[in-house]
């Protein structure tokens, strides 16, 4: 099917926009452009939510290049989505089954999966685990969206009652091959560019280059937030912010986890670039990290560390 709505020039322009905001190499622009063009013709996305807050879906709707309306009506065929799709009830479940029979789709999974309590996530009367067991083998790629899906996140934090785990945990549990199939688009929520860019890359080129351990696509998660931090000069000079709202100083002693965090936040920023955490003097809470929120004795902030026991050293918070 030929795309009659957009010209090649449109795709090139958007591809360049996706690549430029992260200063990715020039050839990435053409890859993204080709991907967006292919997505418009071919790519079906089945997007399902497990133990999720829908924050990643909302973040997807904050996409700027392309804008959400164009994204939905020109670039992707969002076959199923619990928040915005018209399908409900039996129509939803019939579409789910038809998708499974037809194949040829990218499966996007938002939220974690309750591995020890099937009833803690059910869609249309079916346990989420059962739905995934059916769909994952038929998907041409599986994209875990957001930190709950990539690493378990808050639902999988210490003391959780449902035995919650990531998509990779689920695939390992059921001996589903995840190599060259699963991509982890992490952070809480995920950045819209990382979702759209990853879908585009998969459509154009197939499985992207990923971190061998974390399975995060290198094009979006290679740089340490700390290394590109606009307050890095304070860190070098050992000038530290003393309290929340301190306009000057490195935020490390308030709890900033920038050194342990790999994102494009300093370059891409958030919400059309109006702001991001450090620009608002808010310590990075490491929302893209495999350890995000996992341990009770590793709090986000360091204000309380004088009064109660914590389980880290300053060196651990700095990384190596």
């Amino acid at each position: 099917m030929k795309n009659t709505i957009f010209t090649r020039r449109d795709f090139l322009k958007l591809g360049a926009a996706l690549a430029a905001s992260a200063s990715l190499p020039a050839e990435m622009a053409s890859v993204f452009a080709a991907g967006l063009e292919k997505m418009a013709n071919l790519t079906r996305i089945v997007w399902l939510q497990g133990q999720s807050c829908s924050g990643d879906s909302i973040s997807l709707l904050n996409s700027i290049d392309p804008e959400p309306a164009d994204l939905l009506t020109r670039y992707i065929s969002l076959v199923l989505h619990q928040n915005i799709g018209a399908a409900q009830g039996d129509v939803f479940m019939e579409t789910l089954d038809k998708t499974s029979q037809t194949g040829d789709f990218i499966l996007a999974i938002e939220g974690s999966i309750p591995l020890n309590m099937a009833k803690a996530c059910v869609i249309g009367g079916r346990p989420f685990e059962q739905i995934l067991l059916d769909l994952i083998p038929k998907a041409k790629a599986v994209v875990a969206i957001g930190t709950c899906a990539t690493f378990g996140g808050i639902p999988a934090a210490e003391g959780n009652p449902t035995g919650s785990g990531s998509v990779q945990d689920f695939m390992k549990k059921h001996n589903l091959p995840w190599q060259n199939k699963l991509v982890n688009c992490t952070s809480c929520p995920v950045h819209p560019d990382a979702i759209v860019g990853t879908f585009a890359y998969i459509a154009a080129k197939g499985y992207p280059q990923v971190d061998p351990e974390l399975l995060t696509p290198k094009m979006f998660y290679s740089n340490s937030t700390h290394d590109n931090c606009p307050r890095y000069h304070y860190y070098e000079r050992k000038i530290f912010a003393k309290h929340f709202g301190d306009p000057a100083g490195c935020l490390f002693k308030l709890g900033c986890l920038g050194p342990l965090t790999h994102t494009e936040c300093p370059n891409r920023q958030w919400n059309s670039g109006v702001n991001w955490c450090i620009r608002s003097a808010a310590p990075c809470i490491g929302c893209s990290s495999p350890n995000f929120a996992k341990k009770k004795d590793f709090p986000f902030y360091r204000i309380g560390e004088q009064s109660h026991e914590v389980n880290y050293t300053e060196t651990q918070r700095k990384g190596v």
Binding site: G55, L61, A86, C121, G245, I303
Partner: protein, 512 residues
């Protein structure tokens, strides 16, 4: 013999919900009438349990992640509970910035709810195939749908199709084209509202700048202008697009002034702090109140209890949130939602409840006047606000009022003054924070021991609205609202979907 009508899953809300109803046949037709309904929440994470033993400051980050649609409301409830426990009041700039973030997220959430969650129950998306005008967006949308249909795509025009194929959408091509065009515009406008939030919240969803007493970011002229230029666009959109579209929908579906009534009891915790104080008595822009059997009383949080007799929990039923427990027992009961009750009564929460409470509160003559004028022009009575259209309409009016008030708070910001204060976490402490999320009354109850969280409980808007039956068997608000609804086609119960969506449910919130 009783038959059943089911929507499972009920989508275009936040989260995992199923509706199961018992029905009786209506003579000489294939129509049925709902006699009894059950709301089943189908996803559980155990956030309250996860919070136990953690640093109290973690709570405002973790509870924001209860919900990606209204994280700010949870963040605010948590901050206010912490401020009460720490014995510290907000900085003036901090309070104002928090109101500006929360208010911008109201606009985001209300626009999302009307257009992207609810509208596909009313708009005939297929009308685009007949579009013959000159609007380029609509022309390319038509081309997209035509392409998909003519190429025999397995899933043409997803996610707008497939849908319930009933003869119950807005009549008139022009009207549908306008609504479809505005659906697309609204996608952009809701993300602009998120940009407004981010100006002070650092990022959305899930703000990192929120802290007890205020926000971490500086108040600068650049930020004020950045926020204001976007607010100008939003208020124009609300007045010239959103409200007229609401009226269009109301005119096309007048029956819905009489469909979806619940008990008519309303609860509001009040919202947007107007002074730098903590605790339940702080003055707010929207007033707190409990309206039971038409009688308004001030809110007494000691009257709040959560019942679990029909819910998937084995912990004791009927506990006050300070003592609340959340022990899962998946095979017991029929929903992951608990059943909160106020003085034993199910209470509706949300924009309708806020308006009904304010309508009877002294000092809100401006609101009463505007509601009366709107009712008069629609030709309906105050009681008819207890309906599907009443909930949509009060939500739209509220978006307008909040938008207007945001200018006032913006002008009160003091450039260069601190937006947060210093505080410390006490060894022991207790506090609760009451706010209004876009979809209704939200409270967090926090107990601190040895500088850490001993207990944390959230009583959430959709828990009030979509609750399971309580221990006395009283149906929840939505369960009650579904009763007596006539369904044209039992296999495609679009009427039930419209009723449930009018409450703007969020199940990730409601269960947490």
């Amino acid at each position: 013999m009783a038959n059943t009508v089911t929507i499972s899953p009920l989508t275009r809300i936040e989260g995992h919900l199923a509706i199961h109803t018992e029905t009786e046949a209506i003579a000489d037709s294939k129509k049925v009438k709902i006699t009894e309904a059950r709301c089943e929440g189908e996803m559980f994470r155990g956030i309250e349990t996860i919070l136990q033993g953690r640093d109290p400051l973690d709570a405002q980050q973790i509870t924001q992640r209860i919900c990606g649609v209204c994280p700010i409301s949870h963040g605010m409830a948590s901050l206010m509970a912490q401020e009460m426990a720490y014995g510290v009041a907000p900085a003036k700039n901090g309070r104002l910035a928090q109101n500006l973030i929360l208010g911008a997220n109201y606009l985001q959430s209300h626009i999302l709810h009307f257009y992207h969650l609810s509208a596909l129950d009313f708009v005939d998306i297929k009308a685009i195939l007949k579009y013959n005008g000159a609007d380029t967006t609509l022309k390319s949308l038509r081309a997209w749908v035509e392409n998909a249909v003519s190429s025999n795509s397995v899933f043409p025009a997803a996610p707008f199709l497939p849908r319930y194929e009933v003869n119950q959408y807005v009549p008139g091509d022009q009207e549908n084209w306008r609504l479809i065009s505005n659906y697309l515009k609204a996608l952009k406008m809701r993300s602009v509202a998120h940009e407004m939030c981010a100006v002070f919240a650092a990022k959305m969803p899930h703000s990192t700048s929120l802290v007890p007493t205020g926000v971490t970011g500086e108040i600068t002229l650049e930020r004020i202008l950045s926020y204001k230029s976007r607010l100008d666009k939003l208020t124009e959109f609300i007045e010239t697009v959103y409200l007229p579209d609401l009226i269009l929908a109301a005119k096309a579906f007048p029956d819905y002034w009489n469909i979806g009534a619940s008990y008519g009891n309303y609860l509001s915790f009040g919202n947007f702090r107007m002074e730098e104080k903590v605790g339940p008595d702080v003055q707010k822009f929207f007033p707190a109140g409990a309206l039971i059997n038409g009688k308004l009383e001030s809110v007494d949080t000691n009257k709040i209890r959560e019942y679990v007799g029909n819910s998937h929990y084995s912990s004791p039923s009927g506990l006050h949130p300070y003592e609340g427990q959340t022990t899962p027992s998946p095979e017991k009961g029929y929903s992951w939602l608990k059943a909160p009750r106020y003085d034993g009564a199910p209470m509706e929460v949300g924009p309708l409840a806020r308006v009904m409470v304010a309508y009877q509160t002294r000092g809100y003559e401006w609101l009463k006047k505007e509601v009366d004028e709107t009712l008069a022009s629609a030709g309906v009575k105050l009681e008819q606000l207890n309906s599907v259209l009443g909930r949509h309409l009060t939500r739209g009016l509220e978006a307008k009022w909040v938008g207007k008030q945001l200018y006032a708070w913006l002008s009160e910001l003091e450039i260069g003054s601190p937006a947060a204060k210093e505080f410390s976490i006490p060894q022991t402490g207790k506090g609760f924070g009451l706010v209004e999320a876009p979809r209704g009354a939200l409270g967090h109850w926090l107990t601190i021991e040895n500088h850490k969280i001993k207990n944390y409980q959230c009583v959430v808007p959709t828990t009030w609205n979509c609750s399971a039956r309580d221990d006395k068997g009283q149906p929840g608000i939505v369960e009650k609202a579904l009763e007596d609804t006539v369904i044209e086609d039992p296999k495609q119960p679009i009427e039930a979907g419209r009723i449930v969506r009018s409450f703007d449910p969020c199940i990730a919130c409601a269960v947490h």
